[in-house]
Amino acid sequence: MNLLSESISPLLTSDKLELLKAHKILTSLDFVQYNNDKIANLIGQNVSEIIKIKDQILAANNSKSLRADKLYEIILKRTTIIKSGIDMVDKMLDGGIPSGRLVEVFGEPGSGKTQLALQLTANTALKQQQTVCYLTTSDANAERILEIMHCLQEDADHLNGLERIHFCYVNDVYQLMEMLWAPGMREYKLVVIDSLATLFLPIRGDSFNDAISLLNKVASDLKRLAVVHQCVVLTVNHVSRGPAEGTASTPTPFLGRYWCSVPNLTLHSKHLSKDEFQLTVVKNIYSPDPGPKCSFRYFFRSRVDVKNEFKSIYPHI
């Protein structure tokens, strides 16, 4: 949607544009919606010329149609399936998460959301050798990623895998949007935002900032990123309040009712006991089965061993 200018048609000279401006016809959208006769009277042109200009504008802004089979071929070529490396989780997700999807994982603090994000990141960078962008609001845990990589595959090239993961600290929503609009984002096959809720906490409920419309913009930008660049976008969300008394239902995720309809796949993460975590599929628009769950453990190793082992393998770090 552009401003009207002479580049659209040579008939739209600057004095005519001024006349249109005085009548609040500023963008091409305004022009296209306005009555033909009224515009013709305003700027002294034939109605047929006006119609021609309108057609030009519509043609320039039209999206091109694509045959479904060609689209299918393109998708087959560009799709990657992002796996977590934990067999139970991958089985529950029917093999993994194909690109073009927006995934959300939510849960209480300490329930393992960041662990899942780190697991997916490490596996994608190491085994599938794709680049990952990890946008974090709190910390960038490179040591943990190295540990996960070790647990996944002892003798792989971990350092190269680490180079494929790009961390970036985002402190507020506008920085996130800056990143989403950066041209380099197309390179990544997995984009993790940990966590989306933290970015909205300082502005929620503040009428000045209209957090809801910002959330809408972020949601549409994330979807655009996932679909257009064919990557998987994983967002981490919090819970708004615990389950109501006595019910076994899952708690409500934090970002509101509108946000619930945005992701294609929603997972609820729970910390069951010392080592056990549980993931439940709350929403999956591609699968008919409601709520499969699985319990599993994340890989952890004894801290002292890990430190010594790393120092011996990577003395130059």
């Binding site: 949607m1 552009n2 401003l3 500023l26 963008t27 305004d30 209480e108 603090p109 300490g110 960041t114 662990q115 960078a125 962008c133 709190s138 910390d139 960038a140 845990n141 490179a142 040591e143 943990r144 190295l146 540990e147 350092l159 680490l162 180079e163 993961i165 790009h166 961390f167 970036c168 600290y169 402190n171 507020d172 506008y174 920085q175 949007m177 800056e178 990143m179 609009w181 950066a182 041209p183 380099g184 966590s195 809720a197 933290t198 906490l201 300082p202 929620r204 409920g205 419309s213 913009k217 919090h238 309040r241 008394e245 006595g246 934090f254 010392k274 952890f300 801290r303 430190k307 770090i317």
Partner: protein, 325 residues
């Protein structure tokens, strides 16, 4: 191709004040492409905004995607982290629980019931952060933000003497420079009597740290106090609390120092009406710190337990410890 994407970026995705955004959209400027080639005077007259505002908007919009260059690969971060030495707590068990001690570049929360020893642990950290490197310390200074009036200089004296003795015995260090006077010189105490003071203190901390770049530890004892007593409006309380949390995280990461925050306990009732103690300030706050520790008494009252309830990289666990004079 990349410029056309940037040119179709909506203006509302930039941090521009709402009043100016509405004027811009009324004048038809909806995407970056429509303003990027204008001069400030043209934009100012078309959109009826002041010249300074127009210049600011154009600066924002024309900035090259510099932010994108600030990504770091995991390998670089790993290299940096290897150089980061955690702050020891002088309790072997707790240090093992935390894989070396209180980590730098992260926010750690310590909760516990009244009297369990949160302030003690914070004072201890203020002393150990100053230990010379030969003893495993960081030779750094500390900032102590006190909201409850619990900063106890005489206890600090006991702790420093014990620490100095420990270093001298274990390391045979002469360390004439390192004595009680020098320790107290390097701890900066801010007393905050209400929420607005606390908020301003945290916000101007960055300026303070520019002139005091040897600070390696920031302690807030306790964060919960003013929020539980002063603030009636829950929405405002949540916003202020998270603003403080975001600023603390930013300081911790950018300046590579450890931030320790203490929290009080509150009772949560579950479905059966049973109450159990959880850290105060709510579940949303629970996501902000990277590490959360709860201190509690052992039922025998002979020693205490420190339990790691949340961490991003360590398995959860508990460690018994004692407070000695």
């Amino acid at each position: 191709m990349s410029t056309s994407i940037t040119n179709s970026r909506p203006i509302c995705t930039y941090p521009i004040p709402v009043s100016i955004q509405s004027k811009l959209s009324k004048a038809g400027f909806l995407t970056t492409g429509s303003v990027v080639n204008l001069r400030p005077s043209e934009l100012s007259s078309s959109a009826e905004i002041s010249l300074e505002d127009a210049a600011d908007v154009l600066d924002l919009v024309r900035k090259p995607n510099g932010l994108f260059l600030e990504t770091k690969t995991a390998l670089e971060i790993l290299r940096e982290e290897q150089g980061n030495c955690p702050i020891v707590t002088m309790s072997q068990n707790i240090d093992n629980l935390l894989n070396g001690g209180v980590p730098l570049s992260k926010v750690t929360e310590i909760s516990g019931i009244a009297g369990v020893g949160k302030t003690q642990l914070c004072l201890q950290l203020c002393v150990t952060v100053q230990m010379p490197e030969e003893c495993g310390g960081l030779k750094g200074h500390a900032v102590f933000i006190d909201t409850e009036g619990s900063f106890n200089a005489s206890r600090l004296q006991d702790m420093s003497q014990a620490c100095i003795k420990h270093c001298r015995n274990s390391m045979n260090l002469a360390a004439e420079n390192w004595n009680f006077a020098s320790i107290t010189e390097n701890i900066f105490v801010f007393r905050c009597k209400e929420v607005t003071e606390l908020l301003s203190c945290v916000m101007i901390l960055k300026e303070f740290l520019k002139t005091h770049d040897q600070v390696k530890l920031i302690v807030i004892d306790s964060l919960a106090f003013h929020f539980r007593h002063d603030m009636e409006n829950a929405a405002l309380r949540s916003r202020v609390l998270h603003k403080i949390a975001a600023e603390l995280v930013r300081i911790a990461v950018e300046l590579k120092l450890a931030v320790v925050v203490t929290n009080q306990m509150t009772t949560k009732f579950d479905s059966k009406g049973q109450g159990h103690l959880t850290p105060a300030l709510g579940t949303s706050w629970g996501h902000a710190p990277t590490f959360r520790i709860i201190l509690d008494w052992d039922p025998s009252r002979n020693f205490r337990w420190a339990t790691l309830i949340k961490s991003s990289s360590l398995p959860p666990g508990s460690a018994p410890y004692q407070v000695r004079p």
